[in-house]
């Protein structure tokens, strides 16, 4: 559904993503784990087109796959990629409803699909509040809802659990699984919390210095080995 081939990303002279390859199957949830500064955010940003990639290809869809690497962000969204950034980045002065509606732009629709409010009932309750006045956890839900509004094939989430209490983390994991089941999309999520990853991912990758150093399905994962990568 999403295939990345030989992706290189750099800030000026410093290379952050090196020769990265990844294939995400339809309906698969892939977790990318890694310590601070290992390139998770950089990878996500280059996938959605906020920072340009140096070389390599990014393709989305199955019949036939479409190239994204030369498109602008909004065109990538139109092709079916959606992005939830680290730190939420909702539009603070827009109401909750308006925030979600911005995600509808590429679909041409004007009303928020009911499924989104079903997934996040709290957003329906607060739909007329300004996004900036929501709590961190609510803003995280809003950012996910906004991304889902564009009816994506692949959802990118950058550290959705950052700064969120453990009970809510469990709930986010459940919601993500539900999103995958009900909307049939693939999810690529970057993470540092192993328990969260094990709650939902089908496959776990570890990134270090811009390269994948470990790749295994969740079933039969060597937890000790992954934790070892994440500590130090």
């Amino acid at each position: 559904m999403l295939s990345i081939d030989k992706l290189h990303v750099a800030y000026g002279q410093s290379k952050v993503i090196n020769n990265l390859c990844l294939d995400v199957k339809p309906g698969e949830i892939v977790a990318i784990m890694g310590r601070n500064g290992m390139g998770k955010t950089t990878l996500m940003k280059s996938l959605i087109g906020i920072i340009p990639s140096r070389s390599g290809s990014i393709k989305i869809g199955e019949t036939p796959p479409e190239s994204l690497e030369n498109l602008e962000s909004y065109q990538r969204v139109a092709k079916g990629l959606a992005y939830v950034p680290q730190g939420r980045m909702i539009f603070p002065a827009l109401s909750v409803r308006e925030n979600i509606e911005t995600g509808l732009t590429v679909t041409g629709q004007t009303t928020v699909p009911p499924l989104i409010y079903e997934l996040f009932p709290v957003l329906l309750e607060m739909k007329d509040r300004r996004g900036g006045n929501l709590s961190g956890g609510q803003q995280q839900q809003l950012a996910i809802a906004r991304a889902l509004a564009s009816n994506p094939k692949v959802l990118l989430l950058d550290e959705p659990t950052e700064g969120i209490q453990p009970s809510i983390i469990k709930e986010i994991a459940r919601t993500l699984c539900r999103i995958r089941d009900e909307m049939g999309l693939s999810i690529v999520v970057s993470e540092q919390v192993l328990s969260f990853t094990l709650d939902m991912a089908d496959r776990v990758l570890v990134i270090e210095k811009g390269e994948f150093v470990h790749d295994s399905p969740r079933a039969g994962i060597d937890e000790k080995k992954v934790s070892a990568f994440l500590s130090v």
Partner: protein, 308 residues
């Protein structure tokens, strides 16, 4: 007794000067609205805004000439066509300028300042070459001339009322456009976080172009209104740009209500003080007051209350 005037005389003078200031107020509101949209949206300070206004004024002049020569039977309603033409011309020129100049200079405020200033000089010269250096005026249809006598002393100019009505309509339109339409939602999203707006699927470049065009188009309509209070010359826009900046800053950039309130207070203050003192004294007093208030409230009159 106040000075040499009796109390009734004094209030009548206030009222009349107030009504006389209506057209000025309308021109200011429209100018400031356009400038505030462009500045609020893209952080671009458009030094050529006055020239976009003058483009609208020239279009109105052309329209008045055209109708009086070729369509005298419709002359009484030419002003409506003139305003549409003024908007369209400034809107298109605005989009063209954004495409050819502004878009290369985003996030470089000093460069945009210089570039748009250069653009204003180019436009002034272009007007001089095309329309001549002499100032031109429009002929108003009869129904816009004259005034309504409220009391023995108080008279309200009809064209002032007309222009103000139109300004109110346009302002309402802009308000609904910005806060109730999909287009406005996208525009506000781009203002708040350009990168993220792109990443949720908004074509930010297109939004920029439309917004710049819209701001310029509204300036064009201001130019139409302007023809009722002044004569149009290549450099007439320069006189308005400083006042307009003052209004935008005073009202609090990004606040529509603030812009209107500040345009109202500044135009009314000038128009009333002007009657008693000289025009430049009126300017000095208004400026001093505005500076004083801005020292107490640097964010301007109105601001949004949100957590950031």
């Amino acid at each position: 007794m106040i000075g040499d005037y009796t109390y009734t005389e004094f209030t009548s003078i206030l009222a009349m000067q107030g009504f006389a200031g209506l057209t000025l107020f309308s021109v200011f509101v429209l100018m400031a609205l356009g400038l505030a949209i462009i500045f609020g949206q893209m952080g671009v300070i458009n030094m050529a805004h006055g020239e976009f206004m003058i483009l609208g004024a020239y279009m109105t002049y052309l329209c008045s000439q055209f109708f009086s020569v070729y369509l005298p039977s419709l002359f009484s309603i030419y002003f409506f066509f003139a305003m549409i033409l003024a908007f369209a011309a400034s809107f298109l020129l605005g989009m063209l300028v954004e495409w050819g100049l502004i878009r290369f200079l985003y996030r470089r405020p000093l460069d945009t300042l210089l570039a748009t200033w250069g653009l204003s000089l180019i436009l002034q010269q272009a007007y001089r070459s095309i329309f001549g250096a002499r100032e031109v005026g429009v002929t108003l249809p009869d129904w816009l001339m004259g005034s309504i006598a409220l009391t023995d002393i108080i008279e309200i100019p009809i064209n002032g009322l007309f222009v103000m009505g139109l300004t109110a309509l346009i302002t309402l339109g802009v308000y609904f456009g910005m806060f109730r339409s999909n287009w406005g939602k996208r525009m506000r999203a781009v203002v708040q976080n350009r990168t993220m707006a792109g990443a949720v699927g908004i074509n930010t470049k297109m939004v920029d172009r439309m917004t710049f065009g819209l701001g310029c188009g509204i300036a064009g309509i201001a130019g139409s209104a302007f023809t009722m209070i002044g004569s149009t010359g290549p450099t007439a826009g320069q006189l308005y740009i400083v006042d307009t900046f003052l209004i935008v800053v005073f009202g609090g950039a990004g606040s529509l209500i603030g812009t209107i309130a500040s345009a109202f207070s500044i135009s009314q203050a000038q128009s009333t003080i002007e009657f008693f003192l000289s025009g430049s004294m009126a300017k000095v007093l208004t400026l001093l007051t505005v500076v004083g208030i801005l020292m107490l409230r640097p964010q301007g009159l109105f601001t949004l209350k949100i957590r950031r």
